[in-house]
Symmetry: C2
Subunit: 327 residues, 2 copies
């Protein structure tokens, strides 16, 4: 096949650790394998929604080494060699660099496996627009999500100048939303060469990885810094452009996503599976195993599989990593 500089390729970053949705997800079956939000797993949906935009042989997945086999089973149409496992986690900086190397040429879009997109046609239109802009301008184009509330959980991007800002406090978030800033959803589109150039300029430690897929990933990864792509490149680059997107995006960052995705009962309970709520309100309860009865409780997250049960205070689920800390 002739080299096509304009050809669009998609790299899915699928490296979840399984902690935020434990026990529904586990280190062996992290978040991207969750299918509680629909018939498809998040990972499966992240590739399905690219249909029409990219051919299966142009889909690449960067995941953990231990998840390569499961990822290949989930995405049988994606060539086996396109699914690459990182030997250790080095944050999104290394993952984008490795993705650039394995995709090789063309225009590359980076997407997360851990997101919901309610309106995929609008998503594809936005990606097409971003890819065209990237080709035309030589910029790294980010899809900025039109905020639906002043979230403090996301970074923002100023669409006027492409400047990235970190997760704000509540007051600053309100100001950002008022000023028309968009959520940084971690979706980046640029030419392969543009990515490589950005690494060379702003993150030289990652530049060799972006340039060429190493034959020995283990030793290549050993020395890599643990740094996010936002921090390593996007906050420093000047050739950044923004395409706004309003396609029902949700980052599925934790149990709170259930409240955004599923309707609540009259008492504010969001449930999935065989759950009975009696004089209980504002709970999130998901069971994939035994039936559950809540009695007289409020503001809890209860998640049940056949192996494990979580009972947590809803306002503290963002701290769930503490459950897994070595004591």
């Amino acid at each position: 096949m002739k080299k096509q500089p304009g050809r669009f390729k998609a790299v899915i970053l699928a490296g979840g650790s399984g902690e935020r949705f434990w026990p529904l997800s586990t280190p062996e079956r992290p978040k991207q394998f969750l299918s509680v939000f629909g018939k498809e797993s998040l990972l499966r949906a992240s590739v399905s929604r690219l249909k029409g935009l990219v051919e299966p042989e142009d889909v690449f997945v960067i995941t953990s080494k231990s998840l390569v086999a499961a990822t290949r089973r989930e995405l049988p149409e994606v060539p086996r060699r396109n699914i690459v496992g990182e030997p250790v986690r080095r944050d999104t900086g290394a993952a984008v660099a490795l993705g650039t190397a394995v995709a090789g040429e063309g225009t590359i879009g980076f997407f997360s496996s851990d997101q919901l997109i309610a309106r995929p046609a609008r998503f594809r239109a936005a990606v097409r627009k971003a890819a065209a802009l990237a080709r035309r301008s030589g910029s790294i184009v980010t899809l900025g999500i039109t905020p639906t509330y002043p979230s403090t959980a996301f970074g923002y991007v100023n669409p006027a100048n492409g400047k990235f800002v970190e997760k704000p406090d509540a007051a600053t978030a309100a100001k950002y939303v008022k000023a028309g800033f968009l959520w940084n959803a971690g979706m980046f589109i640029a030419g392969a060469e543009t990515f490589r150039e950005a690494f060379r300029l702003h993150a030289p430690a990652l530049a060799p990885l972006a340039a060429k897929r190493p034959s020995d990933l283990v030793s290549a990864y050993e020395a890599l810094p643990k740094t996010s792509f936002d921090y390593a490149v996007m906050e420093k680059a000047s050739n950044v452009a923004v395409v706004p997107g309003d396609f029902g995006w949700d980052d599925v960052g934790g149990y709170g996503a259930f409240e955004r995705y599923f309707p609540a009962d009259g008492a504010g309970n969001v449930v999935s599976g065989d759950v009975k709520c009696v004089e209980s309100g504002e709970n999130i309860c998901i069971t994939r195993g035994a039936k559950v009865a809540l009695f007289g409780v409020e503001g809890l997250v209860v998640a049940v599989t056949k192996d494990a049960v979580l009972v947590a205070k809803k306002s503290r689920v963002s701290e769930m990593k503490k459950l897994f800390a070595k004591s």
Copy 2:
């Protein structure tokens, strides 16, 4: 065998409904089959602790019709005909009357299957003393438990005059304890003829049942009043005597019993099974199935079997019947 008027017989009342310990207990395996408090089930232990006091052929059990088979399996040494199932529940009034009929003659002690007794030798000594007093005096002798705190969950008995009083409020309970009143634990010892006479005098509707085991229990039970033995007989009878008992009695009335029976961790959590508590306190968590993690929660009862999970507010477990109300 020659008729022995002094022979001691024990009737175990084992009619639990399974609601207060749901899901550890269920209507099919109610509280008396729970073995969470030791190696033996509560039912098994209630018979085992009578050893030396009564022969197996003099042990009788009144249970629900649907539980006869399971009860016989649990108590293989007890003759099958001694285990009798009530066709419908008519409270303890009917159960004591039926027990009197099936035990027939001798001195009869009524005991609950739903209790823990930490010091069985002291319990047996108290029963012997009560049986001797019953024979000597012709009284209905009740074992009055020395209170360990001013409970509002039990009725009390005044040892000076054998007068029963209903469950008090907190202030009255404190007064009762100060006055030396004892807990009414629902254990009654008297001659068979004394019981029959008491029914004739105070609860004539139950007297025919106490006099003779009916050939057709279903039609005999249909017309019976639903009334407790305390209310129907003990509160009215004048020939009541009290033997105080201090043998580590607990009525296992609900999940709160776990806090009295098992030691708590430093944060006040009482757990049984594979349970991890992180920044959580004052919970009761029992699992007989999946492992459980509690995170950031307080004052809950969490109970897990392979079929069902309960998450309830600890201060409200006495209202658990609401879970089973037809809606």
